[in-house]
């Protein structure tokens, strides 16, 4: 058992949580149907009206919302409250196409910051802590989210933002920061810089909250060792609010989703069918408590598994695994779902560059998968045995990640075909979707 920021919420009974969600969903559907033409059209197309939605059990009747909808409705098309009620805008980095812009009322900000405060408390935070926020501040939700959470908790907040590592370390030592919030890769870099300067004894960190990018258990271990802290994961997306949609507790075995504000589902990304707990699929959120920008059945494209097993921390909120991949580019090989991003993760973990190509083929009704990896100076050795040993390790790691055997083929640098500068990641020779 531990401390909670909102104990009555975080340890509520499953029945109570279901009741909140059912009531919230019914209200939210009514609200958007009446106020958002985009939603009304979508629901009419799907043949549902608010009268069909009596509770959580009817959620599956509602149409999904995707990033394409957000782009189509950009910028104001999905707003459920007039602009004048809004106090903030945040936005995604949007590497492809138009960015996603999210609107917040003061209540929406409060809800989001409360989620971040819960994450801080789950990481051992109290009002006596000095919270060092090295996420970027601005349109990106990382900095503002944790900054607000720290305020809600009453901790002393250092709004450092990202970059300027020397100054980060100086503040950290002079002002005795106890909790650091940043991306895991920046945490690893900070740890290295602190140890290089021989300042490990001068820092007072006890915990870190790291999110906004994929990281591994190995990275967690390295950061924890290098800084002498506990490292916690945090998950979120701007569309739903920002960091804090889910957060890790002392058990460090998955992230509790703030179910009093968000409904989580996992679906089969191909069919849209809702999957039971324990099965791997695409994560879908309904942010029924949001006033300005509530999203109903928003497909995150993140692949994960939900678990409602009892957690030793006492929280009753469902737990999600770290995202295991992306659904955009899912392949089915030998009946198993394979995500190129899973393969990429394994490659990066083993020191290879993310320059790879996946070749799927089918011979005599049997699927095969080959992963071509470009050799790098770091992975090269004059000894054949070293290279083959590394190759074997990679094959084993891929097997454990994917559940199927993949052939690894080391190729010369820059030999992977690039079209318009971007490597072609997947070549599927099976032609499953043609003719």
């Amino acid at each position: 058992m531990g401390n909670y920021f909102s104990p009555e919420k975080e340890t509520a009974s499953r029945e109570q949580i279901r009741e909140w969600q059912s009531k919230g969903l019914v209200d939210c559907v009514k609200r958007v149907y009446e106020n958002v033409p985009y939603y009304r059209n979508k629901m009419e197309e799907a043949g549902v009206t608010p009268d069909d939605i009596h509770g959580l059990e009817d959620l599956h009747k509602l149409p999904f919302l995707t990033k394409d909808d957000l782009r189509e409705a950009y910028p104001y098309g999905l707003m459920a409250r007039p602009l004048t009620d809004c106090v903030r805008i945040q936005s995604t980095s949007g590497t492809t196409g138009r960015r996603v812009v999210a609107f917040y009322t003061q209540n929406d900000i409060d809800l989001w910051e409360e989620c971040c405060a819960r994450a801080l408390v789950a990481a051992g935070g109290t009002k006596d802590d000095v919270v060092h926020v090295s996420y970027g501040y601005g349109l990106f939700t990382g900095g503002p989210g944790l900054n607000g959470g720290s305020h809600k908790l009453g901790s002393l907040t250092l709004p450092m933002s990202s970059g300027n590592t020397d100054r980060q370390i100086q503040f950290m030592t002079d002002l005795q920061s106890t909790i650091i919030c940043c991306t895991p890769s920046y945490a690893a870099y900070l740890a290295e810089s602190i140890n290089e300067r021989g300042l490990r004894d001068k820092i007072h960190l006890k915990a870190g909250i790291f999110g906004a990018e994929a990281w591994t258990e190995e990275m967690r271990h390295d950061i924890e060792q290098a800084l002498g802290i506990k490292a916690y994961d945090i998950y979120g997306l701007t569309e739903i609010s920002g960091p804090g949609v889910s957060f890790e507790c002392s058990e460090q075995t998955g992230m509790h989703i703030n179910e009093d504000y968000f409904i989580a589902e996992v679906i089969n990304p191909k069919t849209g069918e809702v999957l039971p707990d324990g099965e791997k699929g695409e994560l879908v959120f309904t942010s029924f408590s949001k006033e300005a920008f509530p999203l109903i059945r928003y497909r995150t494209k993140d692949i994960c598994i939900l678990s409602r097993e009892k957690c030793s921390c006492g929280r009753t909120f469902v737990k999600m695994t770290k995202p295991l991949g992306r659904s955009d580019d899912m392949l089915i090989v030998k009946g198993v779902n394979v995500f190129p991003s899973q393969i990429e993760t394994v490659l990066l973990n083993h020191g290879y560059a993310a320059n790879y190509q996946i070749i799927v083929d089918r011979q005599k009704n049997s699927d095969s998968i080959e992963v071509r990896v470009e050799m790098t100076p770091e992975m090269f050795s004059d000894e054949l045995s070293k290279i083959t040993a590394r190759e074997k390790e990679l094959v084993a790691a891929l097997k454990s990640m994917l559940g199927i055997y993949a052939v690894v083929r080391l190729v010369e640098p820059k030999s992977i075909i690039r079209s318009e500068g971007k490597a072609v990641r997947v070549i599927d020779r099976r032609n499953l979707y043609k003719g």
Binding site: M375, F380, D382, L384, E412, K414
Partner: protein, 99 residues
């Protein structure tokens, strides 16, 4: 006993890769003193000895090869039967593995 520098180059095991490598060296007037190839299933390592190691490394890197310099031991031996096995016996007794 003299140490010399050897360049190891990563090559894919498909027709023509070795010829491409020697072609690149030839185009840049690199004179090879010695060469040998070690290969696994789908890739190999070409090991070459040249006069100007650093210039050759630059040529190879510019051509997109992954390569590195390794220190190797050169031993002069008599051109007579049993000369090699005498040396190998010595190394074997000391538990030294020959790549």
């Amino acid at each position: 006993m003299v140490y010399t520098q050897q360049i190891s180059v990563f090559l894919e095991n498909r027709p023509g890769t070795l010829a491409e490598l020697t072609g690149v060296l030839c185009d840049h007037n690199v004179d090879m003193r010695a060469m040998c190839v070690a290969d696994a299933m789908d890739f190999g390592i070409a090991r070459i000895i040249v006069d100007d190691v650093y210039n050759t490394m630059t040529v190879l890197k510019d051509a997109g090869y992954v390569c590195q310099i390794t220190k190797v031991l050169t031993i002069e031996m008599q051109d007579e039967p049993g000369a090699l096995s005498k040396i190998l016996d010595l190394l074997g007794k000391e538990g030294i593995n020959l790549e």
